[in-house]
């Protein structure tokens, strides 16, 4: 894998990461925020893979497996929270659940 390809993949990962952040900051729905989070984690995973291939070292690829597990766990907790929020507030909008404030 050449350097040019590495740069390409890293740029893709950076774009994915930026999109994830924008999703988190701009969307007002809890479920969509969870999607944004998935994008952040996968941007990270992509970075790992790119360097693993570039260095011909499987350690990076190993970490991706952990990352996927992490994403699964996060999804479970996030969805469980979403269910609780919805039952409490009848909505998944952030405006509805903005009670943690001064």
């Amino acid at each position: 894998m050449s350097v040019e390809v590495l740069y390409g993949v890293l740029s893709l990962s950076a774009c994915l990461f930026a999109l994830g952040l924008l999703t988190l900051m701009l969307r007002r729905n809890f479920l969509l925020a969870l999607l944004g989070l998935e994008m952040l984690i996968n941007a990270g995973n992509l970075n790992f893979l790119a360097f693993a291939r570039y260095h011909n070292d499987l350690t990076g690829a190993m970490f991706v497996l952990f990352g996927i597990c992490l994403a699964a766990v996060e999804a479970v907790i996030g969805l469980a929270l979403a269910v609780r929020f919805f039952r409490a507030h009848e909505s998944l909008g952030f405006h509805a659940i903005a009670s943690l404030r001064w």
């Binding site: 952040l21 988190l24 900051m25 701009l26 969307r27 007002r28 925020a33 952030f94 405006h95 659940i97 903005a98 009670s99 943690l100 404030r101 001064w102």
Partner: protein, 632 residues
Amino acid sequence: MVETLLPLAIGLPLIGAVSLGLGGLFIPALREARQFLGGLATALVAVSFGIFFWTFLTYEKPLYVVSWDWFSIAGQPIPFRFGIEPLTLWMSLIITGIGALIHLYSIGYMGAEAGAWRYFAYLNLFIFAMLVLVLGDSLPLVFLGWEGVGLCSYLLIGFWYAEMANAQAAQKAFIMNRLGDLAFIAGAIWLYRETGTLDIDRLGGYIYSEDVAMGVGLLFFLAATGKSAQIPLYTWLPDAMAGPTPVSALIHAATMVTAGVFLMARLDFLLNATPNALLIIGGIGATTALLAALIAIAQNDIKKVLAYSTVSQLGFMFAAVGAGAYITAIFHVFTHAFFKALLFLGSGSVIHATHTQDIRRMGGLRRFMPITGWTFWVGTLAIAGLPPLAGFFSKDEILASLYARGAAGEAIYYLYWGVLLGVAFLTAFYMGRLAWLTFEGEYRGSGHPHESPAVMTLPLIVLGVGSVIAGFVSVPPLVGASWLREKWLGRSVTELPLEPLSHGVEVGLILASVLVAVAGLFLSWRLYGRTGLAAEAALRERLSRLYELMADAFRVDKLYDKTIVRSYEILADAAKDLAGQLTGRFLPSAIGMVIEKAGMALQRLQVGYVPAYIAYLVAGGLLLLLIWLNWA
């Protein structure tokens, strides 16, 4: 040979002070050995005197001892060095000689005190500090001794510190001396700015303009008024009598209070350049002498009379300085050290026997304590200026120098001469009064007073002999040459030149000073010798208002209290209130307020809207990235 011993002469009193002080502090059993401790302290000072005396006998040229670098100012080293030359050696002889006698006397006087170890440690420390003062050859070193004697004076005035009055007297002395010390420092700084050196020998080599010499000279004179109890800083000395009587004799009569006169003689090169400052010094000396002599007439406390007498005699010395006759001033320091130490020790012997200081409850004591009585009379006649006792020669020389300065064209010195001639009369009168009331007539006290032990009477006898013969070191030109001026002090002190008086005038002056002394003594005999205390009432009647004022010391203390002390207290109270308000109320509430406001402002960030937190996170991350990029 003797050079090798000189560091020992200076160091022995310090060794004594440290070993007595530490020994007494850490080994309580040692405190009980009072006679031994006193004997040790006395022996150390006596050995020191022996070495100085040997140096004096073999003196050829100035010596420098103990020389090491102390510190440096702007790259210029200030050495820790002592200079032995006629003036400083002469003072050292007075200090250690009289000091040894008073140490010896103290063994008897303080022998029953539990704090004797402390007393002798302070006394030895005083001798050391005084030696540093006179022998130090740069102004910082002189100042070190100057402060050291002030400290010892404070410690010893407050020796019986359990009584509030004593502690207050000690503080008064200390604080008034600080005022003078400020002037000392200011003068030293000014000199340094003019010449770039603080070494006294080198300072003597410069030519000073009239303005500089006057400013610096008067600053040092102000310092001297503190140490030597002159107007305006004299009121601490009468209060200093709260200390043990031998301390009054050593520190507040014979040695420390003459440090100001010594300083003037040491800085002769400055004063010689400024006749105007000399005029002021002479005026203040004469005024102080008159004021203190008037007060002394109406005092009933034996030590208060002697204290005001000391202030008055110091006034004589400063008048001599004012005439430019520094050697004459030092001569009076020398004779005064003998008879005033004698008088104070005599009064201590009386107090020891009668347990009172009130002369109204004494009288006829010469029958009970003949040695004390006779030596006290010798001291009285010496200070009154009866020839051929010591006080006559020195006082006559002072009067003659003032008269000669007047004859040289400065008419105001005639006035000083007239005033001091009057003061000489008053001196003979109040000292006669004191001696008549204390030692003659009927005993008016209670109990049976008896003579003090030999350890106390021996110093009295030695000092009595000294009071008789000390004057012969400098006899008037009429009789012969002054050894002190021509063979000794003249080698290191330069006086303002004076035209010698004609023989006729000189005879007249001597007759005048003998006449006033005899007249004063005669008047005191007519009043107090014949009728005792009855004369007191008559005098009070006659002088009425003036007598009240004199007995009240002209209310100078009250004046100082009402003006300076009071305004200072008001200032201090205001400052205290201000500080209390600041630290007790204003500052705490201000700190609370700032924190509260800051919290209120910052809590706005806590919006509770999750995407906003993400935005903070991103902003923080970007900030860190920026910092990191700037660093790398």
